[in-house]
Subunit: 264 residues, 2 copies
Amino acid sequence: MKRFSFNQITAKFWDLEDMVAGCVEAGVDKVALWREPVAEYGLDRSAGLVRDAGLTVTSLCRSGFFQAPDWFDDNRRAIDEAHALDTKVLVLVSGGLPGGSKDLAGARQHVADAIGRLVPHAAAAGVTLAVEPLHPMYAADRCVISTWDQALAIAEQHPVGQVGVTVDTYHLWWDDTVLDKIARAGDRIAIYQLADWATPLPAGVLTGRALPGDGVIDMRPFHDAVAKAGYTGPIEVEVMNDALWERPGREVLAATIDGYQGCF
Amino acid sequence: MKRFSFNQITAKFWDLEDMVAGCVEAGVDKVALWREPVAEYGLDRSAGLVRDAGLTVTSLCRSGFFQAPDWFDDNRRAIDEAHALDTKVLVLVSGGLPGGSKDLAGARQHVADAIGRLVPHAAAAGVTLAVEPLHPMYAADRCVISTWDQALAIAEQHPVGQVGVTVDTYHLWWDDTVLDKIARAGDRIAIYQLADWATPLPAGVLTGRALPGDGVIDMRPFHDAVAKAGYTGPIEVEVMNDALWERPGREVLAATIDGYQGCF
């Protein structure tokens, strides 16, 4: 449990104060926070709440969405929020194609350029931009960065520590080349997240993820690859699941801890 | 229209006799057939029906599903059916993980081995086994062969003409490396299929495909890559879409022809 971090989205409807109290009670000392509930509770208040509870914020989820007109200002704000929460990692989900566009290659190039423009601000804030490749099923409408190779190629245009990659088992498990690449990624791994793959996928394919152990992903080779790369940081469980979200927060946390422990 | 082939699944509920008549009427001289409706109408009857109408069968869809206990016998039957229908191409969808298994690499190896065991029978029948990489969102439950590279690696273990690859825009469009690879694939392209990507995806993610032009895929680079490889064969439109399936067959065929012509 030393490396376990509870990603807030896993209990989407759990009030922030209650979540912090629930984590402390369960002996969990790391959380990943999401921008929307943090903004709702107040940024400084959220930062104070987790700090006073002795919790470490392992990442802030999430920024990116570079097809939005205000992407530059919004991502700079997200970097400031990460800094205020004293987390070193800001997860970037690139966003999909601009409305009406079929230019996937162009959208991908724009993401690389946009991240380059954010690096100075992130570096000054001591925040690593953690590019997250999302499963190819999101390429049109959520994230044009679909593979490990694409995310790493963007990260490698910048110094280590300034831009890295998010390893999320849910998004990468299908790729027969990914484990070797992760094992060679060294300091480019910014954060490691677990979620399991379950079928059938629900409409919209966003909220059908499973707790580790409840799907078909063999987690051990991922653990091994990440370890081989030298990554010793936190391991978040980040699951979006409608049925899970209907349960009380404490139950969700307990089930998440069970799933996490079961896959080690 | 010289290369256009109407894939039967695009009008799933159109009676075979009506479909053949509708194609002839519309000046379409190529169709791709599916095993289930062919079996229902009778194999020899189906073969006679399309032959008498002067139609060419561009492929038989589909066999594979190598996790099924009877995969060997069933795939040999499918080869015989392709032969009886006088088509040169049998599309293979590999099937997903065996029940309860998390061994994706093992399942993939089994597919390669299984295809190797089918090659002699297929070669004797003059049928090319067309390995189809399906979108990675199907890796668990429908097709463990998720990428161009995986399908081509299997094909290349055998002589050209015996095992090839199915190029389907729907399954490959997200892959930023695929166009160059297709352009270099030469005679390994066994069949070329068009379907477009639309979101949001429906539950089960099987029946939300769009007619060419109705989604976000830029078809022209695919046409160019396939042409560069030297492929001059038929171009099937194969779309599974619940809303389309509710429409009368003749309407579906007309809309399919429109979509096809619009993307050239």
